[in-house]
Amino acid sequence: MMPWRESLLEVSHRLGSVLLHPREAFEEMISEGPRLALPLAVCFALAFSSGALAISAILGLLPPLAFLIPVAGPAAGLISAVLTLIFLLLLSVLIHANALLLGGSGDFEAILAVLAYSQAPDFLPVAALAVSAILGGIPGLSWFLLGAALGLLSGLWGLWIAVVGTGVSYGLSSGKALIAAFLIPLALFVVVGISLGFGAWWVVALIVLGYAVAFIVRERGGLPSPEPVPAAQVEEGGGDEVEL
């Protein structure tokens, strides 16, 4: 088999496995050591495309502003890609801290890879946006709306991948993984968003301080400390959750 074909099939297998069987895929990833190139490339491509296409599709529906597409398209794509990567980094830090505080143990690179992979389901809404940009007008609008609907589906799909990946990466139960990867970040984003809306920057400082105190308490034995995940449990994997 041609080398490029082997590489393509390997990449396809990896992506397909993450989308269909994230637990097995992430267990394999952890045992091999996380590689960031593929998930970050997919994440960057999808974020760039979604930003550029969304703006192109919206401006395409407003003929007087359509001339802005040449500048607004690439600018929105780049901004979207950069913001997505920054958001992924911040979210990875947050989930990493949550997972450690909840008694998990794992690498930062692994959760970054997991979160980047969790953007992969966006290929559906982004492809719909691409068709919308090609068609324009009323047909384009229907594809744009379809893309928005698929965005909800891909969001849930991505959340499932992120929660399962967090559980596997840190050896947490599904419940704890859901708390670490979704509930706490959601609550913090709501609180921080509202606080910043009122100009209350001190709330952010308070949250950071809270995490620092929690880590100090954990170091002194007040919270569950991390334990290495037994290799046998990781390898066995299957559908079982690993509770430490």
């Binding site: 396809s12 007087p64 001339f67 802005l68 290929f123 492809a127 324009g136 007008g137």
Partner: protein, 231 residues
């Protein structure tokens, strides 16, 4: 081939497709529009143009200023990202420019093609010399008095900004003028108006068809005022 590989290939294919469309960013197909409704001109996507010009040119390249003698050239094409283009009547044909990303070329047919990222362009033309004037400006202003010969074609296309131009045509020549705006006001003066739809004004002057002067002025968002004067 396993189901994972099939799904993965689908993800790869659709991601590459989306990326290609995003980079090519096709012209919106502005469908619909019943009879009598003018369709806005589709806008070429940014990927179809030279990527370096619309995106980077206004901020790229070193600043330059100078003067080009048009000599016997009968056509002038100005492609400017952002800035101002002014026309004046004078004794000799020349272009004075100041800005970034400057490029100039001459075609064998006698047309000078001037391209700049951002800056100002001042065009001085003697009466009756120019047979082709074309200005493509993304953002800015086109103004002044532009004398042309007959037959001649004047085409001014501005994305966002204003056109306030007086076109001086040879006495006795026929004139057909067309001013349109996507969002704003369009006016034609000095010609007999032909009723049309909002945002678009047509006008004409009877005369020698063999010395026909065609004028087109189009603005995406802004205003258009074209005045036609017989020389």
């Amino acid at each position: 081939m396993s189901s994972e590989e099939v799904l993965g290939l689908l993800v790869v294919a659709l991601t590459l497709f989306s990326l290609a469309v995003a980079i090519a960013s096709p012209a919106p197909a502005l469908g619909g529009g019943g009879a009598g409704t003018p369709l806005p001109t589709p806008v070429p996507g940014w990927g179809r143009r030279n990527l370096s010009i619309p995106l980077l040119a206004p901020w790229a390249g070193t600043r330059a200023e100078g003067r080009i003698e048009l000599g016997n050239a009968t056509g002038l094409i100005v492609d400017l990202g952002a800035g101002k283009v002014t026309f004046e009547e004078g004794n000799e044909a020349r272009v004075e420019y100041s800005g970034t990303g400057f490029r100039v070329s001459r075609s064998p047919e006698g047309t000078v093609n001037l391209s700049m990222g951002a800056g100002t362009v001042r065009v001085v033309l003697p009466p009756g010399a120019a047979s082709l004037i074309s200005v493509n400006l993304s953002m800015g202003e086109v103004s002044g008095r532009a004398p042309v010969g007959g037959p001649a074609s004047v085409s001014i296309d501005v994305g966002m900004g204003d056109i306030e131009l007086t076109v001086v045509v040879p006495g006795g020549s026929a004139v057909r003028a067309n001013a349109s705006v996507g969002w704003g006001e369009a006016e034609l003066e000095g010609v007999n108006p032909i009723p049309t739809s909002p945002g678009r004004v047509l006008g004409e002057l009877d005369g020698d068809e063999s010395r026909l002067v065609e004028i087109g002025a189009d603005v995406g968002m802004g205003s258009v005022l074209v005045t036609v004067e017989r020389g």
